[in-house]
Structure formats: C-alpha cells, structure tokens
C-alpha cells in the first residue's frame, strides 16, 4: 500500500523545466533513494512533497487521499518531514530552539517547556553521538557539519511518517554517516517511508532498497538496489558510462623536498585547535581528513587570514606571514574555498558571472578605471564551459541553480585564479558522481601545474583518491600524516575516530 504517491508532477521555473512529469511511489518500511545528476530535479521534487514549492501540474496523494500542498504546514500535518539540501537554520537561536522551532512542546498557558524538550531530544543526541551540551549553543556558532547534524536530529524528532533527506551526508564523515544509518534503519523497520538523496553510491547500496533515477526532470528508471550495479546506475543517470570512480587517478607525485609552499607550525586557538602543524608542498594535493568539528576548517581560515590564531607561525614559501584578512592572504597567493556554500560562498541574488569573478574583479580593468565587461563575460563563459556548469547563461542568478552547480561555480571561482596555495574545503559537496571525478581531475591538474593544493573533505574515498599525502585531525589536533602506502582507509579512519572516541 503506497503511503505517498506522486503522479505526473511538472514544475517550471521561468523557462527551466525542473520536473517534467515525475511519478514516484513511497511505501512504508522502505528506504527509497533518489539519484540524478546535478540539476536533475531531485531537490525540487522534495520541495514539492513538503509544500515548499507548488507544482504546476500533477497530483499528490497521501495515504490514499489527494492533497494539494500550498503551505508547508499542510505537508507537515500530513506527516512529511525533510532535511533540505541547504541547511535551514535559525542562526541566532540555540540548538534546542532550532530543533523544536514550530513544534515546541508547551505546557499550561502555552509556556514553552524547555526541560521537557531537552529530555525528549537527549536520547536521540546520544545515538548520534552528539554531546548534550550542544543544545544550549547558538546555532551560528556551530560549523556547518554540526549544523547538519542538528537538522538531521530535528527531522528525526518530528516523528513523521515520511522523512526525506536531501544529501544529508555531503559534509559528514564516515563515522557520522554510520550513526545516521543506524537510526534510519530503525525508522524504516518502524514502518516509515524514507527518501534519501545522495551522490555517494556506496551509501545507496548500504541503506536503500529501491532507487529512482532522475534525468533532466524525468524519471529515467526505478529499480531495486540489488538489481543495479554502478555502471548501470551511471548509464541511467547520464546516459553514458562514466569512469571507474575510487581508483587512484594518476601516479602519485614523488615525495616533495625542500621548503613546503605553506607551512603552519604550532598553530593554536583555544577551544578550536592546538599545536597544529601542516606542511603543504607545492605541486601536490594534501588531503585533510577528520570528523565533523575536528578543526580542519578553522586551521584553514587561519591560513587565509579570516580567523587569527592565538599562537603559532604560518610561513609561505619559507617567509613568515600573518595575513590580517582574506584580501591580504589572497595578495600573498593563498586561496580558500569555503565549506558553507550559502553563507560563505555564493551571492545568491547576483548573476552567475559576478559570482564566478568575485575574487578577480581587480584583474579586469579596462581603460579609465572601467571594468572590462567583455573580459568578465569571457572569463565567466570560459569557466562555465570548462567546469561544465549547467546554467541557462552567465546572467542567471546563481541562487536558482541546483546545489551541485552552485558548488561547481564556487570551485571555478577559485580554480580560475593564479595562486600559490589553494585550500579547498569540501570542494565536491553536493556534486554528482560523474562530475566529481572531473573535479578530482581538475584538482590534480592544478597540483600538476605547481600549485600547492589542500583538500579538506569528509568523504574518505575522495581524500584517498585525490591526495598525495593525508593529514588526519581529531579534536583540533593533527593525529597522523599518511603518505604513499600508509594511505589506507582503515588506518586513516581509525586515527580520525580515535580508539578512545569509540569507547566513549
């Protein structure tokens, strides 16, 4: 018996047809994976189901009764909850309030019962291995990884019949993903219907029993996971076979000699990281792996001049530097692709072209102090073409692009600049499998061109695939550096998680 049934859903945005007659059936007790290239329409489909977007055509039935959601409140009343691709947070509210916003537990006179809410959510936090102290923290003080964990908690809290996850793990590491899966599995056995979107194929095989593939807003196939192999999936998605993913891409660079391009030594900032040493050689890709909150991003922000460390030294090609702000770091030749696309990356209401060239405006100067508009446009078109960003044209607002395409644009913004050191924080967040491999190629190319590249990622296979060396961090400290043969998944995961952490 179907719990939710979508029939012939069509959604157009201006000239773009995001969904073009999609049918989808969700049954209780099943985890249904949605797959598709960036911009295929997955997120839009989700938003139709939660009432965030009103479809132009098509019907939705929930439990046999036809529904027309025009307001999200109706969908949540019908028992549908979602974790959206872009974190939907209340930055100035506490984590507890974020979790219960709109669904507060109230006592007499409508007084909000904080204690009761905390009591309800605590066991769930435990299962997700999150500390209870998290509840009183301000949401904006958390790194995006933690924010994502909080939003997952929130969706689980709602006790909905249908729970939808739009790329929940794109910035979570193996350990967090494992914990999430245990809970999803339990919910499934409970008789809920789960929708799960991801670009990590291994995850699909682990939890989903059925897969629906979307291509350009149409369903190109639905099948049981057990009937599918990777090649078939890729063919369904893109209509073409893609390269084997996960194998080393290229020969590793020889271990570097001499001064590293970027060297950080003894870097400390209380409460964030202690005594961190990073050596980043030119011409190589240095991977940085760790669990959510291990302090990787903060160290990177220190090198980029965005957050001053309290102690320690930073040297660029042997010369000590202390950049006061990102602008200075960039002048010195350091770049940083931030992890939080929405807050730190894109200019949502601005055209793709302005987003792509935001870091290089100064280079496009024509006579009389004029911006060289033709140059900017040319550069934007080059980047769009080179990095295969799916967009109508360069003047479209970046906010209307799909998550993966926004990410590609940000990657292009940084990859297009001439720098000495480029730090990429979760560079492939939300990028589909086919394209991910391409991005990896681009990263390797950058390194081959002499750039010192750092790839911070929560995706272990990715780190293994692109890196020449891997730095492993845990709780603000470097706990290991692996090179060559030492770079194997088990060892790195073990040191990232830490023997003690498992026990705790």
């Amino acid at each position: 018996m179907a719990l939710v049934e979508l029939k012939g859903i069509v959604k157009r945005f201006g000239g773009v047809v995001a969904l073009d007659g999609v049918d989808l059936t969700l049954v209780p007790g099943e985890t249904h994976a949605l797959l598709g290239e960036n911009g295929a329409g997955k997120s839009t489909l989700i938003r139709v189901m939660t009432g965030a977007v009103v479809p132009d055509e098509g019907s939705i039935t929930v439990g046999g009764t036809p529904c027309r959601f025009t307001h999200p409140a109706q969908a949540s009343a019908a028992g549908i909850a979602a974790v959206y691709q872009e974190p939907m947070i209340y930055p100035h509210l506490s984590v507890l309030e974020n979790i219960f916003a709109g669904a507060e537990m109230t006592g007499r006179f409508g007084i909000v019962r904080r204690g009761a809410m905390a009591a309800v959510v605590r066991p769930l936090l435990e299962q997700l291995d999150l500390p209870a102290s998290l509840l009183v923290r301000r949401m904006s003080s958390l790194s995006i990884g933690f924010q994502q964990m909080v939003l997952i908690t929130k969706a689980l809290m709602l006790n909905a019949q249908v729970i939808i996850f739009d790329e929940p793990t794109s910035i979570l590491s193996q350990a967090e993903t494992d914990r999430l899966f245990v809970i999803i599995e339990r919910l499934r056995r409970d008789g809920r219907a789960i929708v799960y979107i991801t670009h990590r194929l291994d995850e699909i095989r682990r939890i989903a029993s059925r897969v629906t593939v979307l291509t350009d807003g149409r369903v190109s196939g639905t099948a049981l996971t057990s009937d599918l192999d990777e090649a078939k999936l890729l063919t369904l998605m893109a209509g073409k076979a893609s390269r084997d993913y996960g194998k080393p891409l290229r020969d590793r660079a020889a271990p570097a000699h001499g001064t590293p391009a970027l060297r950080m030594a003894g870097l400390t900032r209380a409460g964030a990281y202690q005594n961190v040493d990073w050596d980043v050689p030119a011409g190589q890709v240095t991977g940085v792996y760790g669990l959510v909150g291990s302090g990787r991003s903060e160290v990177a922000l220190a090198a980029f001049g965005a957050l001053r460390p309290e102690r320690g030294t930073i040297a660029l090609q042997g010369r000590p530097i202390a950049p006061r702000d990102p602008a200075e770091a960039m002048r010195l030749g350091i770049g940083y692709l931030p992890e939080d696309r929405k807050l730190q990356g894109i200019f949502a209401t601005k055209p793709l072209e302005a987003n792509l060239t935001a870091g290089t405006i100064g280079r496009f100067r024509a006579r009389g102090g004029r911006l060289d508009f033709a140059g900017l446009r040319g550069e934007a078109l080059r980047l769009i073409g080179y990095y295969r960003i799916k967009a109508r044209d360069e003047t479209i607002g970046i906010g209307t692009l799909s998550g993966g395409n926004q990410q590609k644009a940000l990657f292009a913004r940084w990859a297009g600049q001439s720098l000495k050191v480029l730090i990429l924080d979760e560079p492939t967040r939300g990028i589909d499998i086919g394209t991910k491999a391409e991005i990896h190629d681009f990263i390797r190319d950058l390194a081959a061109g002499g750039l010192a590249v750092v790839v911070i990622s929560s995706d272990l296979p990715e780190v293994l695939a692109v890196s020449d060396r891997i730095i492993v961090m845990r709780r603000g400290s470097v706990v290991g550096v692996a090179e060559g043969a030492a770079m194997n998944a088990e060892a790195i995961l073990a040191s990232a998680v830490g023997a003690d952490a498992r026990a705790a």
Binding site: S94, E104, S141, G271, E298, A306
Partner: protein
Amino acid sequence: MSAAVMGAPKVPRLRLPQGREALLLITLAVLVAGIGMFSHGAFWSRINLDNLFVSSAITLIPAIGMTVVILTGGIDVSTGSMLGLTAAIGGSCFAAGWSLAATVPVFLLAGAGLGLVNAVLIIKGKIPPVIATLGTLSIYRMIVFIVLGSNWITQIPPVLTRVFVVDHVLWLPVVALIALGFVIVASLYLRYFRWGRHVYALGNNEEAARLAGIRPERIKLAAYVMLGLLTGFAALLTLGQSPMVQTSTGSGFVLQVIAAVVLGGTSLSGGRGTMAGTLLGTLVVQVVDDGIVLLHIQPFWNGVALGVIILAAIGLSSRRDAGGM
C-alpha cells in the same frame, strides 16, 4: 572582521542575549555615577528622577512593540506620526467634551487601527516595511494637519497628568510602573511562550519558519497592531506629560524609539535582541540627554556631547561585543 561573521564557533553560550546587556548596564552605571557626582546631587532629586522615569516610560512603551516588530525582521518608521495622529484624534474627543472613560478607548483603537493599516500594506500589499511605513509616516502626518486644522488642542483633562505622571506608586510615577510592567510581561512572553519563540524564529529565517509550519503573516500582523496599540497608549501618556496636541506632536519620536531598541542590542536584520536590552537602551539615551542639562553643559555643546558620549560608550562596547578579530 568578527568571528561571528566568519561563522566560526565560539565558546558555548547559554542564551540569546550576548554581553550587550551587561555592557549597557555598566555604561548606565558609569553614566549615573558620573552624572550623580558632578551634578552635585541634582541627579538624585525627586524632580529629576520623576522627569527621567516619565520620559523613559513614554519612549519605552512603544519601544516594546518596536522591539517585536524589529525582531520579526521588519521596522515601523511611522510610529511618531502615529503618535501624533492618535493624539490628535483622542485630543479632538477631549476637545469635544468627551469623558476620560470614553476617550481612552479611542486612543487605543486609533493606535491599533493605524498599526493595522501598516500591517495590511506590508503583509497583503507585499510592500517592504520601510517603504510602507515611510509612506504612512507622511500620510498620517498629513492627516494630523487635517484633523487639527492648524489649531493646537489645549483642552486636555488635567487628571491625565495627575494619574499618570504626578501620582506615585511604590516610589515610581504611575507611567513608569506601567512601562516596567509591560517590559516584564513582554519579556516573559517572548522568552517562555510559543508565540514569542516564533517571533524569533521568523526573524532568524522566514523561509525556514514557513517550512516549519509557522505562519509569518499572523505574527507580523500581531506585531504591527500591537505596536500601534502601544503607540496609542503612549499618545495618551504624552498628553499627561504635556497637555497639548500640536501638529508636530511625535515628530522625531520614532528615531528615539528605534535608537533605544537598536542600542539595546536588537539587530535591524531581525531575530536577535531582548526586552531587557531595550529597557537599558532607553535608559542610557535618556540619562545621557538628562545629564547634559544637569552638568550645566553650554547648550550649543549639547549635541556634540550627546554624539561623543554615544560614540564612545557604544563604540567601545560594540567593539568588545564583536570580540575583536
């Protein structure tokens, strides 16, 4: 660049209010101590304290409503004109010989009605709050001119002054007590009641709030109407403070209210701020203003002193608040 700007984690904090209240409290204490000392006790005289409390209360009452409006991510710049118009309407009733009991509801209804007009323009007309209320700011003022016909209303019953301003309960003028009561109620409401939490949620992220099933329109409607209601009440109190309605009554008032709210730490982009901050912000503004006369500063230097004190006091605390880098 602030740490918050970079989205970097900071030390755990228990609740919303940042160090802002504490800093304002210190600022206030320093100002009071300084003025108390250098005014040779004049600051502590009954007359001065009453004066201070009454004018603070009249700013504070609409500031409570303004805080809620700004928390939802909106703003109302028409409050001063609204105060003028309710005073003109209510004052006309007094002039026509209406009794106090019959006129008080007129003030409240007129205020709420004008607030409702703003709310409808903003919610139904989908006009950005600043633009809508800049518009009604001019329109309401025009109506004041029409209602008054360039006569000032002086037939205000003296009982208003006696009841609200002269009489004391618990050492405080009645207005001050009322204002304090409102602050406490509003503060508890915002903090502990579902609706209050939704105000914050809405101001933090309207889209998310909508997705969470909160109905932004209802909250906004309530916020603007309530601000109108409180403004209507403040208009009544204004007439207790000085028994005359002029065509200019209330002009310049809104800036004072918004300044108190923003000074109190409420962010103009919404979702952050507290009633306690608004209370302290109001007091700081009023004390500075008061001190300038009490300290016998040459009148032409008033403005300079006011500007410098605000920049110094707020500037230093803002820098601290932002936590350096």
